[in-house]
């Protein structure tokens, strides 16, 4: 056992890789969280960047919403349809008729928002017979493994995150008419300081980040291409193989993730609750 697993009175926390991720046992989220349980979950969350809750029962939507609210106000997705009667609950669903699946490329959730989500809690209810894993990459690790020269170069820069190209028409097959909608865009620092841990994390992603504002177009394209390759480094990645009712809780401020759609035509379905976050900032 390692040092990160010790000191928990309630939870059993086992890291899944040296740099990111931990499996958590000892609570059933379907029952909600007590204040003591929440304190340990939050600590494990900050220490491990993404938590995988094992041996869970199905969480009722209102309970999932209540747990989310313990972290902060909830986030309402700018594009995706929600579960009927539960506006904060985003249904993740891919099946035989799907033309796209959510989160297929590396990204942080909704980084196009001015105040992007702090974290995301996803419980999977229906899983394919094999496949549908989710990979999580540590952006602390991505930052830490850059040279000091590259780090200080990036620390002075900001990037434009946009969503029009992703969201326009994306959910039309679920009956969403977005013709009147303006999708969000935002400028964020390329390196952000995590507001809770104080650690620095790389904050550009291939899904939403279009360009680095202070650089020429060619410089920006080249640098982003490099960073997008760099952040995929498997040394900083953990890969989660889901079991039914497993819950993943990830910190969008320091993690990117990618859901593999390798199970078509099988079905994969779950409920996601997203917690609103602060405006990203950089503190030297």
């Amino acid at each position: 056992m390692n040092d990160m697993s010790t000191g928990y009175a309630i939870l059993d926390v086992r890291r899944t890789s040296p740099n990111i991720g931990a499996e958590v046992r000892g609570v059933d989220l379907a029952n909600g969280l007590t204040a003591d349980e929440f304190a340990e979950v939050e600590r494990a969350f900050h220490e491990n960047q993404v938590l995988f809750f094992k041996d869970q029962s199905r969480i009722a939507p209102d309970v999932q919403v209540e747990i989310g609210k313990m972290f902060g106000p909830l986030h309402f997705h700018p594009a995706a349809p929600h579960l009927e009667g539960y506006p904060p609950v985003f249904v993740i669903h891919a099946h035989k008729e799907s033309k796209i699946a959510n989160g297929e490329g590396w990204h942080t959730d909704v980084s196009c928002d001015t105040e992007p989500p702090l974290g995301t809690m996803l419980q999977m209810h229906i899983l394919p017979s094999a496949g549908g894993d989710t990979m999580f990459a540590s952006m602390y690790g991505a930052y830490d493994t850059l040279s000091p020269a590259m780090q200080s170069f990036l620390e002075g820069l900001t990037a434009s995150h946009e969503s029009e190209h992703i969201y326009r028409g994306r959910y039309s097959d679920r009956g969403v008419d977005d013709s009147d909608k303006v999708y969000p865009s935002a400028v964020h620092p390329v390196v952000r300081t995590h507001p809770a841990t104080g650690r620095k994390a790389l904050y550009v992603n291939a899904g939403f980040t279009m360009r680095i504002n202070e650089l020429s177009k060619a410089e920006s394209r080249n640098l982003l291409d490099f960073l997008f390759r760099h952040m995929e480094e498997q040394l900083m990645v953990t890969r989660f193989r889901w079991s039914e009712n497993d819950v993943a809780l990830w910190d969008n401020r320091c993690v990117q993730h990618r859901a593999l759609w390798d199970y078509w035509p099988e079905e994969r379905k779950g409920h996601r609750v997203t917690i609103k976050g602060d405006r990203p900032f950089f503190k030297p």
């Binding site: 850059l146 020269a149 590259m150 002075g156 020429s216 060619a218 410089e219 080249n222």
Partner: protein
Amino acid sequence: MAESVTVTPLTPIIGAEVSGVDLAHIDDDGFSALRKAFLDHSVLFFRDQDISIDAHKALGRRFGDLHIHPAANDYNDGVKDHPEILVIHADEKTTRTAGDSWHSDVSCDAEPPMMSILRLHTLPPLGGDTLFASMYAAYDALSGPMKQLLGSLTATHDGGPNYRDRAGRQGVDTSAKAYPASSHPIVRTHPETGRKALYVNRAFTTHVDGIPRDEGNAILGFLFNHIEKAQFQCRFRWQPNSVAMWDNRCTLHHAMWDYFPNVRSGFRVTVKGDRPV
């Protein structure tokens, strides 16, 4: 230089053709005018200069001590009594020519040449142009943050891969030979003009020092593409006895090998330079 001397820029950025001068006979005033034009335009071109090897070397010596090329002895067709002369020659037997990619001459040396003076006496009926690119302009076109980043980095220039490949293709055994390798700043300040210039090139620059290879490769890959943009360049079309005189501290050049199996031949004199700063 006499009053008939005229300097005609080829582009606003780089290169000028100089007429009305005999490079074998330049007085002190003429030389200082030549030197000023050289610093202003980075590359000068002259026509109809039927000068001797000795006059060629004497011209070079007015700029500084002459450089002896680390690969000069790899070739059988060297001018044996003149180690300062590098024979530039391609014909129907050639498998690889000198300068067939963007480079700054011998940037692998710790003190790379400040300038090169090339006279071609034999030219193909068509082709064999040389392209020159301004590394001042390439630097100036970068964004502020990129300039800052590059200003903090050095890169290694290694002559081995380039020269071994070239000699190997001519059947020269280089296994016992050591070629120079040096670390230079990616941005160098020209010692005479004070202007900043990019100082990396595809032929010699192998990696950025002190940072991970992936980062360095990303930076160099970008820079190699950047510095080859047409807006930083001029292109010189040679005639027999044309002379080109280029500043290796702020230019790259690339000799087109588009005339095989024809002959292109001449002599180069290279003037020693300072350690880049």
